[in-house]
């Protein structure tokens, strides 16, 4: 789960809104790819991973319309495979939670209404991913 840790570090270390948006875009994309690759491993988690992947698309789409998102090409590195399903779920839950925190904070600070709306929507998607992937009590 080195990729996820690196992404979390990027999210935490983002010093501007464009940086955060780029990191968030990549984070949602990694969540999507990891969730998709985990969909049909355990039948009881099929719905959870399918829905998490869908929420990641929602988040990524929301980021796409943010005016402050850089116009340059966005780079997404495919995450390394091999982790077990629980590790993936825990990582996705953590990433979703961090996306929620960072983007909600960014939404509060955003000056451009389009950025604010995009961050709020994307934060909602991050929250949803966290809810879907978090372990039960």
């Amino acid at each position: 789960m080195h990729d996820v840790e690196a992404l979390m570090a990027r999210l935490r270390g983002a010093r501007s809104l464009p940086e955060l948006l780029e990191a968030s875009f990549d984070a949602f994309e990694v969540i999507r790819i990891l969730a998709r690759s985990s969909e049909d491993i355990v039948p009881s988690l099929y719905a959870a991973f399918m829905t998490a992947a869908d929420a990641a698309v929602d988040g990524r789409q929301a980021i796409t319309i943010a005016p402050s998102l850089s116009q340059v090409s966005l780079v997404t590195t495919p995450p390394a495979a091999g982790a077990d399903i629980d590790t993936i779920a825990v990582a996705l839950a953590a990433l979703g939670e961090l996306l929620d925190e960072c983007l909600a904070r960014a939404a509060d600070r955003a000056l451009i209404p389009g950025d604010r709306a995009a961050c709020q929507e994307a934060a909602k998607a991050g929250r949803r991913i966290h809810q879907l992937m978090a372990r039960g009590q």
């Binding site: 998709r36 009881s44 099929y46 399918m50």
Partner: protein, 532 residues
């Protein structure tokens, strides 16, 4: 529960039977009341016949070709009943100062029968609307069934049954020995004419049906026609037992079927016709069909435990296998919507279909899994439900099959409509995809561009596959529902009828790119099969 046509036909028939069972001499006032209700009843039956497909009297007279035997029967019956009604209208017009007794049981029974028959006709009319050119347009999945020859024959049989019961009884009203002496001769004669016309109408149908009687299945279908209104929403509560979940699934799936028709009629202008809504639809479909496979496997196991016949066990197993083929197809579409898009749209609140789909996901998931408050979230994931818990008895197997059956049917319809909406969007150049380039280990995503023809074809082909496999599932469930006499058995009959429900995507309307074997033209056959 939604009212069915049978809910009106049965009591109407009972009240007519009760009226004609009265053999006592009617007082004059009651005779006039009976004649008036008899007239109302004949007019109501004429309205039924007016609604049936076929030429009117003038068109029939102008046509050189002989009419189809059933159209001829409808015409003959309608003419006879209309003459009878006209005769009674004349009779009533001559009784301007007469006291009419509406309280006699015979009058009451006939009046109530007329009320039920009129309400039944109103129920049938909910399936149709008048088009811009004054034409009668289908507005439901049932409309083609109502207009079909077998069901028309069954309806004619019902009308003939009433006519043949009423004719001899009403003839007595005009006979001096049974009617009081103060009934004018002209009135008696008019009643006699009407009675004769009623007998002619009944005999016309009887003669036509002598060689080709309506099938019991058609009659059963006629009685099962529901009012074309969605049932009220039943929100999932989190404490539903299997029987509640099955019933709730049927209600939710039925509401989805209605929502699809409403959505399809306004799709080109609807803000909900976006890739986001199609993505949510395939997500829900993929989860529901996946859970349906688990449910059908559980039912197969339970059927073996209950030592049901090998045929039923084989059908359950076959439906489970078909489901296992279907959900990966929906997942494949979902993967396409990860990338392709119609753009970003701000939509106020979730679409009706999305809300109903969420209810359906919860209910089918809770049927499949043990945890009563199951949701797609990992925290609520649980073991698959024990077969004995899923269906303690044969009756429970039937209920659960009915639930899965309706859900599969709704999903098939939605996939077919979404597929057409995607085709329309592609033809309208509203479908986009990001451009990718690969550099070493990284994939570089660039801004969105109009989706390439090959990508559009791939998406449509995925929809075709999903619809075809889902049609296979519903076909298997049709057979099961029929074999188990599940409450959803009419769905099989509906599927057997060619569907021509007008929607937003008339054939030949939006010109889709006809560029491959996955083109819409190829898909029309599938649409006909799935009844979209």
């Amino acid at each position: 529960m939604t009212a069915t046509f049978g809910d009106f036909l049965r009591p109407a028939s009972e009240h007519i039977a009760a009226a004609v069972s009265i053999r006592d001499e009617l007082p004059a006032g009651a005779t006039f009341g009976t004649i008036r209700q008899f007239g109302r009843l004949l007019i109501t039956l004429v309205h039924y016949l007016d609604d049936l497909p076929g030429p009117d009297e003038f068109e029939a007279a102008m046509t050189a070709e002989p009419l189809h035997p059933q159209a001829q029967t409808v015409l003959d019956t309608r003419i006879a009943l209309r003459r009878g009604a006209q005769s009674l209208r004349y009779a009533m017009n001559t009784l301007t100062d007469t006291v009419i007794d509406d309280s006699h049981p015979a009058v009451q029974h006939l009046s109530t029968a007329v009320g039920f028959l009129a309400a039944g006709r109103d129920l049938l009319e909910t399936h149709f609307a008048t088009g811009s050119g004054g034409t009668r347009e289908s507005r439901s999945y049932w409309a083609p069934v109502i207009a079909s020859r077998p069901v028309t024959a069954a309806l004619l049989g019902e009308i003939a049954g009433y006519a043949l019961r009423l004719a001899p009884w009403t003839a007595r009203l005009s006979v001096p020995e049974t009617a009081a002496g103060d009934v004018p001769a002209a009135t008696g004669l008019a009643a006699l004419t009407a009675s004769h016309c009623t007998w002619v109408a009944g005999a016309a149908v009887q003669a036509a049906h002598r060689g080709h009687p309506p099938s019991p299945d058609a009659r059963r279908l006629l009685y099962a026609i529901p009012a074309n209104f969605p049932p009220p929403r039943l929100a999932p509560s989190g404490s539903e037992q299997v029987s509640d979940l099955s019933r709730g699934t049927i209600v939710t799936a039925e509401r989805l079927r209605h929502a699809v028709l409403a959505f399809a009629r306004r799709a080109p202008w609807s803000p909900t016709a976006t890739s986001a809504s199609w993505r949510k639809d395939v997500l829900a479909s993929a989860i529901i069909v996946h859970a349906s496979e688990l449910i059908m496997r559980g039912l197969t196991e339970r059927a073996k435990q209950l030592t049901l016949g090998p045929a039923i066990c084989a059908q359950l197993h076959s439906a489970a296998d078909a489901s296992s083929q279907a959900w990966p197809k929906f997942r494949a579409i979902a993967h396409h919507w990860d990338i392709a898009s119609t753009g970003i749209h701000q939509v106020a609140g979730p679409a009706l279909v999305t809300v109903e789909f969420e209810d359906l996901v919860l209910r089918i998931g809770r049927l499949a899994f043990r945890y009563q408050q199951w949701t797609p979230a990992r925290a609520q994931a649980s073991h698959i439900r024990n077969p004995a818990d899923l269906a303690p008895t044969l009756g429970d197997i039937t209920s659960v099959v009915a639930a899965v059956h309706t859900a599969a049917d709704a999903i098939t319809h939605i996939a077919a409509w979404d597929r057409e909406a995607v085709r329309a969007a592609a033809a309208d150049h509203r479908l986009y995809a990001p451009a990718f380039t690969r550099t070493n280990a990284a994939v570089v995503r660039r801004r969105y561009r109009p989706a390439s023809p090959s990508r559009v074809d791939e998406i449509l082909a995925c929809y075709d596959d999903a619809i075809a496999t889902c049609t296979l599932v519903t076909g298997k469930l049709d057979d099961l529902a029929t074999a188990l006499d599940a409450p959803t058995w009419p769905l099989a009959a509906l599927r057997a009828q060619p569907q021509r429900v007008p929607g937003a995507f008339p054939p030949g309307g939006t010109s889709a790119p006809q560029r491959s074997a996955n083109s819409p033209a190829r898909h029309r056959g599938v649409r006909a099969q799935v009844g979209a």
